[in-house]
Symmetry: C2
DNA sequence: ATATAATAATTAGCCGGCTAAATAAAAGGA
DNA sequence: TCCTTTTATTTAGCCGGCTAATTATTATAT
């Protein structure tokens, strides 16, 4: 098991998402949505196209995430007044509260848990190596 | 961007899956299905419950993957004769051929690409650190 | 001014991943 | 033997991710 780097990364991806889901369940959110909310918290009224860029996902994914988050009362979508093609999103009170709590608590907690037992140096090395792997995969 | 380890892992996960999808497109397969086929290649007539264990996914996921792979002609499902609850899967000729080619070519190629530019020592360190991270996430 | 190209979103449809709940069959215990 | 628990699978439904194709609107070049 876990003999290859690929397999290892897949397992980590799953475990990471599962932990995230567990932690976000209290807010009725799923892993991935917290980044969306955080972006809107930092850039209120942000366009979907900019979210596409910032989150590095396709426009389709952003559209559907926005729809679901709106349906569940976390944010509001509205047409941009100066560009009729664009859609801007802004947080509701519920969304604002969730975003603020999550960013500080959940994410940091998960981040801490992952690197437990690693020295400061090892953390730096791990990040550096992973950034290299990401570069290689994007080629 | 990519400031946290979590974000980095998410990005790598996406990039890894996308590369896999690209490579497997020639076989009309998607990332994840190659592991399924490989398992059935090594253990012909394997039960779905064992695939659940080996692949470390839920029974639901295995059932649906098996259905899709069967629908697309890669394998066959049949009830176990000694245990009427269980379902055994075996590869068709098409599935066998795909599994053999993919395991050797695609997976190794992706594996190579990921660690390009890393020294032998760095590869070992990376694996060790990632295994620690996986352990931490499973707690 | 008009035709062409680029940009922003969307719909439909596919994939792997999950939980909850239901079904059916086998295994164990009183 | 009968009842209970465990095991194997499935159905329904939700999530993020993707591609392909479509619609609208803005920008650009002729």
């Amino acid at each position: 098991m876990c003999s290859t780097l690929g397999h290892l990364l897949v397992q980590i991806g799953k475990a990471h998402r599962n932990k995230g889901n567990q932690m976000l369940a209290a807010y009725n959110l799923h892993a991935g949505q917290e980044i969306f909310l955080q972006q809107v918290l930092c850039h209120n009224g942000i366009m979907l196209s900019d979210l596409t860029t910032n989150m590095e996902v396709t426009p389709v994914t952003v559209t559907r995430m926005a729809d679901r988050l709106e349906k569940n009362g976390f944010l509001v979508k509205e047409k941009c007044c100066t560009d009729q093609r664009a859609v801007r999103v802004s947080l509701t009170e519920k969304g604002k509260e969730a975003a603020m709590n999550i960013t500080e608590q959940t994410w940091n907690q998960l981040e801490q848990q992952m690197v437990e037992g690693l020295s400061t140096e090892e953390k730096i090395i791990l990040k550096r190596l992973l950034m290299q792997v990401l570069e290689n995969l994007k080629k």
